[in-house]
């Protein structure tokens, strides 16, 4: 299996690489080279940091066009993690209104409940969607590690699993080959390893 972690200069990839190695993935690369991306069986879109800066980097590298082709046309499985999950949505109001890759009809905004502590950091329980393939074999209300200041919501059915912090927000989505998780499966011990394995195995 050949997994490419998309490199657009945002975030620490050590644990993602470590988790893939742990699961026994033979070929792991971190790259923004379109040839390498084309050869990949699965793509992981990671990311930590600001939405608008990330989109600028992605556009500078022309990764947006490539990703649209591979993900929407070729139906290559992709897993977005944290900011990567948000980037595949329509828009975010972090810093300023900016537009994402638009694979998923969703928006990213501040937590509406002003009484809660932001960022949302630590393990929190995920209310697992019964139809979910990503969570196959993972119990409802399992704990995953979150660290984020903005949350995703959607008016569409994107097969989402939810997390509660103040209100409910989207912890994960899966639409055909497009999947995303707000939490960090690579920092969520065996719960996270199981989920990454499901992505690699079942999509």
């Amino acid at each position: 299996m050949n997994v490419v972690i998309i490199d657009y200069g945002m975030g620490n990839l050590r644990s993602i690489i470590g988790a893939l190695k742990y699961l026994g993935v033979e070929k792991i690369s971190v790259s923004n080279n379109t040839k390498k991306l084309r050869e990949a069986d699965k793509l992981i879109l990671p990311g930590v940091g600001s939405f608008s800066m990330a989109m600028r980097n992605i556009k500078t590298l022309k990764l947006d066009q490539y990703l649209k082709y591979e993900v929407l046309e070729k139906k290559k499985p992709v897993l977005g993690i944290c900011l990567g999950m948000q980037l595949m949505g329509k828009s975010s109001t972090e810093d300023e209104l900016s537009f994402g890759l638009g694979f998923i009809n969703s928006k990213v905004e501040m937590f509406p409940d002003m009484s809660i502590k932001v960022p949302h950091v630590g393990f929190n329980q995920v209310r697992v969607n019964k139809e979910s393939i990503l969570f196959d074999g993972i119990e409802d209300l399992s704990d995953f590690y979150f660290v984020h200041s903005y949350q995703m919501t959607s008016e569409n059915d994107i097969n989402q699993s939810l997390c509660e912090y103040g209100d409910n927000f989207i912890a994960s989505y899966e639409v055909d080959n497009i999947t995303g998780v707000q939490f960090h499966p690579e920092l969520s011990q065996t719960n996270g390893l199981k989920l990454i394995k499901n992505f690699l195995d079942k999509f």
Partner: protein
């Protein structure tokens, strides 16, 4: 429900891990010693989070620290925060690239607010942990050697305004004593703190951890006490607290060995 966390802190100085007591350091051993006595890769599967602090006095060797960090984080799938001596964006980048998920800053919270703002902007609030060392109402920077003009409450207020993601509140008087956390001071300042709060300094046993976890506004309890929590004893404490229905995250530790190499030779 958002769970609480138990954090293990490693105090590092020029090649050695240390037991710190009231910020006086006692060398304990190098990375091989740590691996041998704590079986780090094994116990990390049962911990919430790790903090690694470079507390070398004077000029810190960031490069050497980053190399040590790389060794510590290998095969460890928990969030790692690292810091000590960060004075530039490049220092922060070096630690992120060496395996830190978050960086810990302290002295620049007083000496270089402009840099803090730039770090928050570049890496996001959620990647920045503000470490605050205090004694009674006084705040200290530079490994507890320099007293700050502002009192603790004013300092915390400023730290919040800078937009950091978490606060690591460390009592110098309780540090390494094993006498329990300084909950008195925590109670005084807790109203001021809106960011997630980690308390440190003084935990010597499981009951101390529990006392911290019992307080609503405390999000995480940390210990750097290598002696009181030797080997897997922090893991055992966590297990018992979890069984006592403390709100800690749960995952199946046994599943790790089944997952290892489970995708090897997997053809599509």
């Amino acid at each position: 429900m958002l769970r609480k966390r138990i954090i293990f802190t490693l105090i590092y100085e020029n090649g050695f891990f240390n037991q710190s007591r009231n910020f006086r350091l006692q060398k304990v051993g190098g990375i091989d010693w740590l691996e041998k006595n704590y079986k780090f890769k094994e116990i990390s599967i049962a911990l919430d989070e790790l903090v690694v602090l470079n507390v070398a006095r004077g000029e810190k060797n960031m490069f050497e620290f980053s190399k040590t960090l790389e060794k510590i984080v290998e095969d460890v799938f928990i969030p790692i925060s690292a810091g000590g001596g960060i004075r530039s964006i490049e220092d922060a980048e070096l630690l992120f690239n060496s395996g830190a998920d978050k960086i810990v800053i302290n002295t620049i919270l007083v000496e270089d607010n402009d840099l803090v703002t730039r770090l928050v902007k570049k890496f996001g609030s959620q990647s920045i942990v503000a470490s605050v060392d205090y004694r009674c109402d006084e705040v200290f920077i530079n490994n507890g050697t320099v007293k700050v003009d502002k009192n603790l409450e004013d300092h915390l207020e400023n730290v919040e305004l800078l937009g950091v993601g978490e606060i690591y509140l460390n009592s110098i008087d309780k540090d390494g004593t094993g006498f329990g956390y300084d909950l008195k001071t925590v109670a005084k300042v807790i109203e001021k703190i809106k960011a997630p709060l980690i308390i440190a300094g003084g935990a010597g046993n499981e009951a101390h951890l529990a006392q911290g976890l019992n307080i609503d506004c405390i999000n995480a309890v940390a210990t750097a006490n290598l002696f009181n929590f030797i080997g897997d004893s922090l893991v055992k404490s966590r297990e018992r607290l979890l069984n006592d229905r403390y709100s800690l995250a749960f995952w199946d530790i046994e599943a790790a060995s089944e997952l290892k190499n489970s995708l090897i030779n997997k053809k599509l």
